[in-house]
């Protein structure tokens, strides 16, 4: 028989309510829970070396306007949306900057396999990474939320201000474009 924890872990909703009352440890816990997921999104979206700053900015903005979060989607998904906007703001300020980080090649090309296979895999990742960065913002966000975090179309629609049907279409359009890079 599995051990039953003495206390149930605090839910995101409870932490959010605590933060609204000024509890900084609740905010800290939320960052610890979701920062890596936000970083994963930003890394794939081409944030490059600015990931840490953008993660911090995303959570700062989220906590500042926590009253606008109505629980329409997961808190993590909502913060990723805010991170996407922060990335867009940053790109508007720094136009023309190449943000693709070749180091963010990920786990696939990790040296396993023949050298030519490894090189091929790395090249494919690089092309796909560049392709993701070039997607229209909505397609990119829908694709990454779905592919990286398995967010439902309903939740995606709620945070991106669209409908589940349109989100589905955006996803398929993104896949159609990226497939050509494989």
């Amino acid at each position: 028989m599995a051990a039953i924890p003495l206390t149930e872990p605090t839910s995101d909703a409870e932490l959010i309510e605590s933060w609204k009352l000024g509890d900084e440890t609740a905010a800290t816990e939320l960052v610890h829970r979701h920062a890596e997921a936000v970083a994963r999104y930003l890394g794939a979206a081409g944030a490059g070396e600015d990931v840490d700053d953008l993660v911090q900015e995303a959570f700062f903005r989220a906590f500042r306007k926590i009253d606008t979060f109505k629980g329409e989607a997961q808190f993590r998904t909502w913060v990723i949306r805010i991170a996407s906007n922060a990335l867009k703001d940053q790109r508007r300020r720094i136009r023309g900057r190449v943000v693709l980080s070749i180091e963010d090649g990920g786990q696939l090309a990790d040296g396993q396999g023949r050298p030519d296979e490894v090189l091929d895999a790395r090249e494919t990742e690089r092309r796909v990474a560049a392709g993701i960065e070039e997607l229209p913002a909505m397609q990119r966000d829908v694709f990454l939320l779905r592919a990286q975090h398995a967010v439902s179309y309903e939740d995606i629609a709620a945070v991106l201000g669209t409908t589940p049907g349109a989100a589905r279409v955006h996803y398929h359009q993104a896949v159609k474009r990226l497939k050509e890079l494989l």
Partner: protein
């Protein structure tokens, strides 16, 4: 593995390094420090509330003025009038004067749920230009 599954796998891999490199504790400390610096003073908070209330009042006044400008009232309001003292014709006049002419728009409501995938794609292409 389908092409879609392969793309999803690549997407999950992309950003893994960013996630692994992230100093979560430093990010959390940075967030809290910024929130503390950014904490508005009581007077700023009240100013914000006051501005919001002023905006509501202004909008209400503007709407009221607009609605009033659309009315054509024939009889004299200078003397207070009890509605029970008015004749039927005068009551009709009062009711007519309260009606505001506004354009009525007929909206053909079409939800995106009504469209099939091809129609959605066509619509998105139109919107994206």
């Amino acid at each position: 593995m389908t092409a879609e599954e392969r793309l999803e796998k690549i997407a999950r891999g992309l950003g893994d390094r960013a996630a692994q490199k992230l100093d979560v504790a430093a990010v959390a400390n940075g967030v809290i420090a910024r929130l503390r610096r950014d904490e508005p003073t009581v007077s700023v908070r009240w100013r914000r509330v006051a501005l919001q209330m002023a905006a509501v009042v202004l909008i209400s006044v503007a709407v009221g003025l607009y609605a009033n400008s659309q009315r054509t009232v024939d009889f004299d309001f200078t003397a207070p009038v009890e509605l029970t003292e008015l004749s039927e014709d005068e009551l009709d006049q009062v009711m007519d004067s309260l009606l505001v002419d506004q354009p009525m728009f007929e909206v053909a409501a079409v939800g995106l749920y009504d469209l099939d995938e091809q129609e959605l794609e066509d619509l998105l292409e139109l919107m994206e230009g």
